[in-house]
Symmetry: D2
Subunit: 345 residues, 4 copies
Amino acid sequence: MIYFNCDYNEGAHEKVMEQLMLTNMEQTPGYGCDDYCRQAKELILKECDTKDAEVHFLVGGTQTNTTVIKSALRAHQGVIAADSGHINVHESGAIESVGHKVLALPAEAGKLTAAQVENCYLAHISDDSHEHMVQPKMIYISQPTELGTLYSLKELKDISEVCNKYRLLLFVDGARLGYGLAAPGNDVTLADLARLCDVFYIGGTKVGALFGEAVVIINPLLKEDFRYIIKQQGAMLAKGRLLGVQFQVLFKDGLYMEISRHAIDMAEKLRTVLYDKKVAFYVENRTNQIFPVLPDAVLDVLRKNYGFEYQARIDETHSAIRICTSWATKADSVEKLCQDLTNLL
Amino acid sequence: MIYFNCDYNEGAHEKVMEQLMLTNMEQTPGYGCDDYCRQAKELILKECDTKDAEVHFLVGGTQTNTTVIKSALRAHQGVIAADSGHINVHESGAIESVGHKVLALPAEAGKLTAAQVENCYLAHISDDSHEHMVQPKMIYISQPTELGTLYSLKELKDISEVCNKYRLLLFVDGARLGYGLAAPGNDVTLADLARLCDVFYIGGTKVGALFGEAVVIINPLLKEDFRYIIKQQGAMLAKGRLLGVQFQVLFKDGLYMEISRHAIDMAEKLRTVLYDKKVAFYVENRTNQIFPVLPDAVLDVLRKNYGFEYQARIDETHSAIRICTSWATKADSVEKLCQDLTNLL
Amino acid sequence: MIYFNCDYNEGAHEKVMEQLMLTNMEQTPGYGCDDYCRQAKELILKECDTKDAEVHFLVGGTQTNTTVIKSALRAHQGVIAADSGHINVHESGAIESVGHKVLALPAEAGKLTAAQVENCYLAHISDDSHEHMVQPKMIYISQPTELGTLYSLKELKDISEVCNKYRLLLFVDGARLGYGLAAPGNDVTLADLARLCDVFYIGGTKVGALFGEAVVIINPLLKEDFRYIIKQQGAMLAKGRLLGVQFQVLFKDGLYMEISRHAIDMAEKLRTVLYDKKVAFYVENRTNQIFPVLPDAVLDVLRKNYGFEYQARIDETHSAIRICTSWATKADSVEKLCQDLTNLL
Amino acid sequence: MIYFNCDYNEGAHEKVMEQLMLTNMEQTPGYGCDDYCRQAKELILKECDTKDAEVHFLVGGTQTNTTVIKSALRAHQGVIAADSGHINVHESGAIESVGHKVLALPAEAGKLTAAQVENCYLAHISDDSHEHMVQPKMIYISQPTELGTLYSLKELKDISEVCNKYRLLLFVDGARLGYGLAAPGNDVTLADLARLCDVFYIGGTKVGALFGEAVVIINPLLKEDFRYIIKQQGAMLAKGRLLGVQFQVLFKDGLYMEISRHAIDMAEKLRTVLYDKKVAFYVENRTNQIFPVLPDAVLDVLRKNYGFEYQARIDETHSAIRICTSWATKADSVEKLCQDLTNLL
């Protein structure tokens, strides 16, 4: 069996593992106050082309989203998100569990528009009864989105402008950020994110690390006492250097982008076959998640040798599935799937 | 100016006020452990045709909804509601502030259907990734709804059946319950609610009391330690007898229904004029909230002498408004408005 | 039976009731946005000798404490309180339920000292591991305390100074404030509180109102969006004018102080008898709560005609009890108890 | 420099690292639903001599405590703990952040007694006003405690009996459990814990793993939907197999006990020197934390070559410090410190 179910089926990139082995018996202070973390932060800030940001390392995505949002919002404030946003559907109510409403908006291909955000904000605050409604204060978007699509620089700028206009906070979930940065047609860089967001995170769990997400805080107001909230959320790793070591490896000599590009290359190979066969897509994108619509009969055959996610029923004989590539996807596996697809379609 | 803005513009029914005056200097124990509360509870249980239920008196609606939901749900559970439901839009995120997601469903005229509820539940729990989603555990509906519509006994039974099938809890917000019970065509009684719900409340604030809501708990599992949660939510009135006194008056000799019928009579008078003039309605109902669509020019004239709520823009020259009658609405005021409407339309 | 159990056994002062009757059928906007509230706020600000403060009316004490603390603190911040403080022992964990630790300090006669507060703060923040501990941010004290004692102006100034030094917030719970202001030897005025605190509240429930507490917010940072939190906590009364009407009556022509002095006069009459009989006190104070230590045999006799609270066992034959007077205590009742005590002791 | 500051200065035991390397590129399902987790759970259950328990793997201690307590308690319930308990002092208010009061009791050498627990419970529930107080529902103890002391089997049984008597839940924090199990004089086994507790956890972070804690749930009531709460707390590791792999190694062939015994041997070596030199102890114990009281002059010298934690000032010239050994402590390092101590004292 070859699994294309998700981008966290394997462990970590071999260079990450090597460095974890190499540093294993060193003694360092705990909780992220070690030299590996310090160095990793510097590498990340350099990539983001900023000196003023703060970088914090957390373990996983739900944890990171909850910690950032809890730290940034007052009790009566909510966070605007796409209805398909991870915080809205797949975090077991983590955001609500820390007291905040997710103001979910219907999203085309997983993306919010600046106009939507502005309208939602105005609808909540112009009214006499605004105090009876949640106050929208933060915009949460994912880059790439949960459906693999990307915000263009223009789209991001427009949203950022709305945020500035109404003093809203822009938070970008980059759980799969590498696969966005490496995608054909992407025009958003880390430096752009650092310029346009108040806070964002660079995903490691899905992009070469055993685990770990790097939160980059730009807005000075969001920096104060952030480590308290990390600790309170149970998100402060005792052996914090494990995160520093991993991100140092990933951000030295461009490894993060190199392995991200590999995942994209693998995805593009699969897309070529699917395009050739005139396969329709549930949603079109160029990142590491592929959502082809395939005949159920074909899927039945594929299931014998491949793992993938069922996405949605399209009609009586067709379903959309999700195929994920990642830093760990082997060229052989993709080659094999390409051939099987070619034969079956 | 005559205000038809809402059903809480005035104080309390004169009989309520009289009894509060009469008992004012009596000494009673605090926190609802007095004879007036005891007697009021008995009167309510009698109307509900049950002996096993528990009755608790709280001060206001948001407080009551939050207390009931907080007491009933575990941390990972959410409450299904109409998108127009009070807990979803007009309680400043109170439900989320105690940790629970409101799973809002698009609602036709403010009402959920049994099929919607079932589909929502199944979508959340059938999947492999159900643990990554909020677990729906309670259904919240309002009778009448926020748009003045009513669930029929059949509709209520259907929803109740779905709840029983999946061990979901049914909670009915009766902030305006009297106006529902008294509405033409209503076939749901207090005894029906006590038979079909796990918990519901009978609104006093909008129906003759200075303030106060009577929570009726049917499901034994929801009774345990409920008073702790009332206290923790700041919802336990020190002079609890104020609530007992008021509900005793309202539920003695049928006053609650008598004054509710008055509000409905007043609303029906207004509807007759509007029907005569072929006025369209934003939503049709027979309770104490009327949602006519009127020419903006007419509204401009009306605004000089009458208060009402702006509901929505319908087209370039028409808007929907909300007119509320209540136990306190004077026949004269309605007469005057009827004439003005007749003249203007 | 005559009840001296607490200061909320009766309804409201007759003038309050009269005004509620008089204004009962007037139509006003809801949620505290009416003229009665506006006028009551002005009267209170005048007594506080300030123009910059904001006044908000809430229904009860637990609700008020929770709303103020929730609004003021970030998630990782805690509130320092006496171990006997109301928020620490008698609010069913309301403060923790909104996420904040009560940092309880052992208190002599219910009072914190400036030195205690400073030491507690420093112990929490000087350490390397401060991020692993709750950050103290607010000091909660009650005036009078739960044991009827009072902070002197000097003591209050010292605490306020510590707060300013470390940017801590000072919050005074004035549930029984009138009885403190009217006590012999008190040297703290409303204007002092307005000058020295960040926020405090003036209790109505225990001092002449049916219910209601007036929150006075001095610190501009605490004013922002406070009404959202009131609403979210279920603490925004629909018929808010009920609170305005009551506080307007209480703060017009000095009624609040007049009835507070009455309660103190009643308490002092009882104290005179107890002093004459050389009765010991569980805690000494001059406000409306009296804590005599009496022989159990005497208590057994008293219990037949009087209600009071059992406070603590002192030795095998003696117990401390709490006797409360209030605005509603009748001179006759006190006279009768004085005579019975004289005879029994 | 040699660090004796804590038991998480290094990475993981070499066998753990080897197995992580060996399995690194295997494809497994995420979120702990893999074979490594399954096998590790079986090994743990065997050691606990039970078949009915559930095992869940989480990442760290604060996270684990919060998840267990949040899952087990209703909103108005609190957890009794020693005032020195980790959840009371060193988790940044994590327990309060999920809504629960920590009812801290003064603890002799970090330990609660059965009598204390019973008295605390009775004080909270016997009173008329019990609904105004937090309801104690869970007892949290650490084995070993934060001060390295151990509950004897007799002490544990007594506490367990009180819990059964009042239907309280017993939760044992075993962050350093191995070092307790391996300590001289310990008479509590994993099987005892499984018999006497409702839930406990076996620490990995401080005992040979890179990170990870194994929660063992005995009480069936606590099993329901536990994974939802793990996810909601951001404690569900995407690559859950990392935890399974580690615990499998630790619990195969007795490695967990073997490395725990090593840490104890190292500590006992140090204690022998200190005993010989008649050094006093801040608290006496036989686990991996040593709390000697040493002259400040000696500490100044030691600081040049060794890291340790400052615990408390004892008098003008003496301080208590904490020295930690662990699975990773080298015999050489201990030998060196022993000699330096011998020379200096």
